[in-house]
Amino acid sequence: MTSPDNAADAHAPVGESVEKVDGWGLVTGNARYTDDVPTENALAGHVLRSPHAHARIESIDTDTAEAIPGVRAVLTHEDVPAGRFTRTGFPYPAPAPFDERVLNETVRFVGEPVAAVAARTPEAAERAVDAIDVEYDVRKAVFDADAAMEPDAPTIHPDEYENEQDGADPERNVVCAARHEEGDLEAGFEEADAVVEREYETQVVQHLPLEVNTAIAWIDERERLTLRTTTQVSHICRDTIARAFDLNRTDVRVIKPRVGGGFGVRQDVLPVQFLAAALALETGEKVRLRNERSEDLHASQTRHAQDVTVKTGVRDDGTITAMHVDVTSNTGAYGCHGFAVLSNAAHEPMSLYPCENRLFTGRAVYTNVTPGGAMRGYGAVQGTFGIESHVDEVADAIGMDPVELRRHNLVQAGDESFEPEFSESKRRLESVGVGDCLDRVCDAVDWDDGPDEPDDERYQRGYGVALSMAKSGVPSSEFARAHVTLETDGTLTVRVGIGDTGQGSETVMAQIAAGVFGLDVDSVHVTADDTDATPWDNGAYASSTTYVSGNATEKAARDLAVQVRDLAAERFDVPADAIELVEGDLRLPSGESLSLGQFAEEAFIGEGGPKRRLTASGRHFTALSPKPFAAQLAVVDVDTETGEFEVVRLANAVDCGTAINPEGARGQVIGGAVMGLGQAVSEELSVDAEGVPEHRGLRDYEVIHAPDLPDLDVELVETHEPTGPFGAKSVGEVSVLGPAPAIANAVRDAVGVRIDDLPVTPAKVWAGMEGEP
């Protein structure tokens, strides 16, 4: 943690756009991802998946499959541990029901694994999967969250399970229920001059990291289960796998090589990881299990579909007097992140407008679709779409400019965030740059003047704005430790168990350690890819890494710097605080200097004292989670003759505290904004009446491509977060939140049509212009 008196020494390379420490491998093709190792002697894994949305497996005959030459193992629910757990990637026990096994006797969505095969060749594995004979007792299925709570709906998890969450009603498929009230809601509505209520809906989308979920599992020469796999939480993966198979933690090792994206899907321990582990334990051989893209799209966790109802009371002067947000979240077949995503959906966006009387109610509901999971934004995408769309409706109801309404009610430094009741976060917000962010995006388009109309009067132009808030880790949950060693050549080795899946966190850790010592980034090596080589870290989720792991790394580096100074003070007989660490040198008050490398080597040799290996450790655990903020503004042209529209510009202003790597932070902002754009206008995973996915593969899933991009402006509105490493907060998630409501608001501004269900499509805009409901 940077205290005020040493904040001044926040020097380069902190704040510089250095190249990524793993960049050379990425641009030359030398980077090795999970599957980029020879596996010709590994067994090929293959998975039989359920064709039914809800069925009990009556019998399962594997004799024919096992008789196929080359088949080494066929595993069903009868062959895997009986205990149930959650795949949810939080430290044990995780806020989620223990409602699943490695393979389940009842399958609850189309694509759920039914059996797993390991064979000498992929062809034999595929033939074996085809030869498994399953008799299903097909049950009634339900796909809609509201329908799932009706009395006649099938109960998806009838058996009692452990770790039930607050408000659960498993018989009615309710995983959990939440209620959080501050003030007096009804009194707040009575004070209002207008009360506005509307429901907003969001769709299912998928993370689509470019590398599909993959695991290679084997038993090493000390009889330990080892996984080389696509994870963003290597230590949690190790812990969860060990628990599932009743192994010692020390008998499991997880190697996280380069990972091709994550965005939350790899926060969970993945079915391919459990299944590869089970097959390796069964056969004693190395097993390679890689999802095809269509399997990844159909069967990996998704973003929860949510219905968000917002009711707001407002006075004529624009003061919000009361706000009630009600969320129904479709968590699919397993509870996974049902509880935490639900809670986040309302708490983050409601924090932007700290009115006295506010209420959040909600529930997460089981259905027979692919489980929802953690995805960049983590519920706040859905809640922000509802609330930020609604704020424009509220402004319209009292005839006020929507930006003016926001400014009138906006959260300020010193206010408290709306934290969940279970949250141990300290609520007072130290650094709040959202007002500046709003000013910047408005200035960028001269908001007060309104849009110029396009030359052709067939087109109408609209402006829409949205604000957002995210977090910097889960308070009182994230734990990180870092070890930093001064090598005898003057370089630093940082060992930290972070989960860099491309966002650049290894580079940020290197910058932080280098910044403490006045080194360049090339003089720091970060090891983060192996649970055998790194101390515990929760991994990459909840925008925690820069703040939590970064603080641990900074503490370790500062402790090491103290050791260096103390030893030098002893050796050269000068005061420790008079010794400077600059550009890889120790500078003494006399003006003399010697290199860190020479100093470390002499310490290790034992010159002038006992032999020393200079190494230090830092850990970070905190009840704080400083909030990054963003304002995003969309400019949209709508064709009034067809309803087709174009997002021509998306302006983004983000307060992430100090940007430790500005170009990297800019990449996070743009990447998040474009992912948010896809959520806004094109992406959607749907199932038919039987629960079967309606898309064959990536070719049917409409992600944003380069030619689809609007003009993108990015401004980093730097604040200083006093508790962050060198003043930093997080930046990974906040920019994915705003595009959908900003675009919906811009469409409303252009043609007066409110699209309240995502994605915003030309057909919906056209229907709205034609006055259809």
């Binding site: 756009s17 190249e19 990524k20 793993d22 960049g23 050379w24 491998g25 990425l26 641009v27 030359t28 093709g29 030398n30 980077a31 090795r32 991802y33 599957d35 980029d36 190792v37 020879p38 010709e40 062809e123 993370h207 689509l208 990291p209 470019l210 590398e211 599909v212 380069r258 990972v259 091709g260 994206g261 994550g262 965005f263 095809e292 893209r293 269509s294 899946t501 491309g502 966002q503 650049g504 790597n661 170009e663 990297g664 800019r666 990449g667 743009i670 990447g671 998040g672 474009v674 992912m675 593969g697 990536l698 070719r699 992600v703 944003i704 491509h705 380069a706 030619p707 991009l709 993108l712």
Partner: protein, 170 residues
């Protein structure tokens, strides 16, 4: 053995200038044969020819290695992202600019993106941003939102345009 019958055997290709014999006895796609020969820089992001991560040049043509039977490539000159490096393993201007602009995040799509960009710069030395975006229309990048990639390609083109004309033709 003859790879031209498309059914069995091996194919002879040159990969980044090096003569290589690829196994193709089981009807492998080009990506399978290349990766089995250790060319892990060719990435499989979708198995269905949509994401562009497996892009290579075959005799100068932009090719989806995941859709192309290896047997059809006998005698071809194949260029992967490693073919952009110079004889001393020095980075191509495109690779340098991708580093400079933070245009590679997870990096999984990058071999295919860089091959598509290289292919573009073979055809034009001064592409507009719209032409660059069109050249990337067959690539999916989920991390960057493309903007820094477009900037990097534009700057690489400018650098190469100012340098020896032969640089582009290489």
């Amino acid at each position: 053995m003859d790879g031209n019958d498309g059914s069995a055997g091996t194919v002879s290709v040159r990969v980044n200038g090096e003569p290589v014999t690829l196994a193709a006895e089981r009807g492998e796609t080009l990506i399978e044969s290349l990766r089995n020969a250790g060319h892990y820089e060719v990435k499989n992001g979708c198995d269905e020819g949509v994401c562009g991560s497996c892009n290579v040049l075959c005799d100068g043509e932009l090719t989806r290695a995941c859709l192309t039977p290896a047997s059809r490539c006998d005698g071809a000159d194949v260029t992967t992202v490693k073919g952009l490096l110079d004889d001393d393993n020095g980075l191509h201007a495109l690779q340098e600019e991708f580093l400079e602009h933070g245009a590679a995040q997870c990096g999984f799509c990058i071999p295919g993106v860089l091959v598509a960009a290289y292919h573009l710069l073979q055809r034009t030395t001064d592409p507009s941003d719209a032409e660059i975006a069109d050249a990337l229309s067959g690539n999916v990048c989920r991390c960057t939102g493309y903007a820094q990639q477009i900037e990097a390609i534009r700057d690489a083109a400018t650098r190469l345009d100012r340098a020896e004309p032969m640089e582009v033709e290489r």
